[in-house]
């Protein structure tokens, strides 16, 4: 992973002292930006997680290093945290399957339609995230034909078997939330996948064929390993925001599909409990950072991301 420091101190050694200084000047805007919009908010959040829980917005909060906040928040919201991770994981897996097929088709089979298809992948971003999610409510409405079809092919029954739906409906079920997450984050999966698939040298795949590898084997031994950076980047770009998402579960879910993002939002704005809200945010952040570190290590692609 290239860091700011590498860039700053790199370069031929003969002009070193001068270069070094220029480098520091160059990172100054970035560093200030980070200080202002990352370090300070981060400390503010960390401070909120250590607030005295008896304070309130109006009477003021003191930082009393009340670490019990973390235990209480985790215990009270463990269900929502687990649910968020589960939904995000399912949505990421679905995105990976759908996105890989799409990216593969664009990279290798689209020919002159390539640019058009890429534009189509990005096109949804031209409308608001909220509007697009709201229109899913219309598509999956109880009296709509999508639900009729799903009932006819027993999709709703199948979903009920795996606990992703309750009753003969699609809207206001875990299925709808996961589908919404999948839809909203699919482009974040497709684009990095496309970027790494597009760089694959087709002659390598041809060589695999020349060496008597079946197409499937060739894919598994050549294409897939070469596209791993895209897979890792895509899954991270999907999983991380999906875990903290607070829109899909509120618009498409029911009261039993509440994810942790929505809980944090409600704690901050409705219940005015900054201490728990802060602690919960920090817990979520720690969980995601830990999960990502383990994942990147396991995937063994530290240099590739």
């Amino acid at each position: 992973m290239a860091t700011v420091d590498d860039v700053a101190t790199g370069g031929p050694p003969e002009h070193r002292p001068r270069r070094n200084l220029t480098g520091y000047w160059l990172i100054l805007p970035g560093a200030l930006w980070l200080l202002l919009f990352f370090v300070i908010p981060f400390y503010s959040l960390l401070a909120a997680s250590l607030f005295d829980p008896d304070g309130s917005v109006l009477t003021g909060y003191d930082v009393t290093f009340h670490v019990q906040n973390f235990g209480n928040a985790f215990w009270d919201y463990k269900e929502q945290i687990g649910r968020s991770l589960l939904y995000a994981a399912l949505a990421t897996a679905t995105c990976l399957v759908l996105g890989y097929v799409l990216a593969y088709a664009i990279a290798f089979k689209a020919g002159r339609w390539k640019n058009l298809m890429l534009v189509l992948v990005i096109a949804p971003f031209f409308t608001s995230f909220l509007l697009r999610t709201l229109s899913w409510k219309l598509i999956l409405a109880d009296d709509g034909w999508v639900v009729d079809v799903a009932q006819a092919i027993h999709l709703t029954d199948a979903l009920q078997l795996v606990n992703l739906a309750d009753g003969d409906r699609l809207l206001a079920t875990p299925f709808a939330v996961i589908a919404g997450l999948t839809y909203n984050f699919l482009p974040f999966m497709v684009l990095p996948l496309y970027a790494s698939l597009e760089k694959v040298d087709v002659r390598l795949i041809e060589a695999a064929g020349d060496l008597y590898a079946s197409p499937a084997r060739g894919f598994l031994k050549v294409t897939l390993p070469l596209s791993m950076p895209g897979v890792v980047a895509g899954t991270l770009l999907t999983f991380i925001p999906a875990t903290g998402d607070y829109v899909n579960d509120q618009l498409l879910g029911n009261t039993n599909t509440r994810m942790v993002g929505a809980s944090i939002q409600s704690l901050f704005t409705k219940e005015n409990d900054y201490a728990t809200a802060g602690a919960l945010s920090v817990i979520l952040m720690v969980i995601i950072v830990a999960a990502v570190m383990v994942y990147v290590r396991k995937a063994g692609t530290e240099e590739l991301v």
């Binding site: 400390y43 503010s44 960390l46 401070a47 909120a48 250590l50 607030f51 304070g55 309130s56 917005v57 109006l58 009477t59 003021g60 909060y61 003191d62 930082v63 290093f65 269900e79 929502q80 409510k137 219309l138 409405a141 109880d142 009296d143 309750d166 009753g167 809207l171 206001a172 029911n254 009261t255 039993n256 509440r258 809980s263 409600s266 704005t269 409705k270 219940e271 005015n272 409990d273 900054y274």
Partner: protein, 386 residues
Amino acid sequence: MAGMNRRTVLRGGAGLGFLGVSAAVLPLFGTPDQKQDPSRLKVPDRSESDPRLIISNWPEYIDEDDDGYVSTLTQFEKDTGITVRYTADVNDNDEFFSKVRNQLGSGTSTKRDLFALTDWMAARMIQVGWIQKLDASKVPNLHANIIDSLAKPAWDPGRDYSAPWQSGLTGIAYNKAKVDEVRSFSDLVTRPDLKGRVSLLTEMRDTMGFMLLIDGADPEKFTDDEWKQAVERLTKAKKAGQFRSFTGNDYVQDLASGNVLACEAWSGDIANAGDENLVWVPPEEGIMIWADNMMVPNLATHQANAEQWINYYYEPEVAAKLADYNSYICPVKGAQEAMEKVNPDNVENELIFPTEKTLSLTHRFMALDEAKARTYEKDYTDVQRA
């Protein structure tokens, strides 16, 4: 080996340094007490020398000029020579609260002379001293004409700090094309044919008000035991899968499309939806009434103009014109007679002029201090995720 050591030491040092700096810096992020003393946050009134008035209100809450029709606001400007800057930037009580909290909490100006917030938020702001007292001699219409059911809220019994802009009722709505009449709130939370197709409001005071009424408790004065019982009853219904969602302003669409068969609803929303199948009913247990209240914040520079505005909107003719536009409950006595001239069709409109009988069934939620409010809000959100 030496390198390893050096590295370990450096890392350890950096870690300790980070912890030390954090421990020193973190307490700076505490937040101060935001109580203020309104009598010390008065500024010389500039209403005379600078005839302006800056107002924040909810969207679609005031009539507009339309060819030939002169709006109440334009008329006010003509009559008084005051230039009104009217902004519809109150979308949500909590959101508006966050918008002005830093200024009001630290005793600086919000650059506004008047804004309108719902009862509980109004109560909260008055309690912490962010609101200026109105000069009773400058708002005679308010005290003479306000309807009885809104005249004495527990949090501002003399209407010394606030004046209702419009008021509304919370009750039940159902889709009559899809389901039999729903008459009571206890039907809504228990009837088996509604299971999974009911939505409730996220407004704790509305929903819990009804839950208290089911058990015969008074939402304006209840005990902790009664509260507990109401919460338990709601939790039971929630666990049985009765509810599909807890909603904010966005429930009408689900009701109209049939995703939801019956729900807790605000009267004005159903009247404005323009869908014949949607019926609003006052629940048998009683009705929750609310109002959005105009208030003058600390350090407002045009308080006298604001008082003139309040007084103007408490003239029955003006109130009738306004109510004719937005179909919420008119808080002004005499407006019903004045409506005769404005729009005879609306004289008997129960959503604008509820009968004495309906009004006698209305309840308000009791005023809560900060700690109590948070406990109750927490209990209520706990139900929602039970």
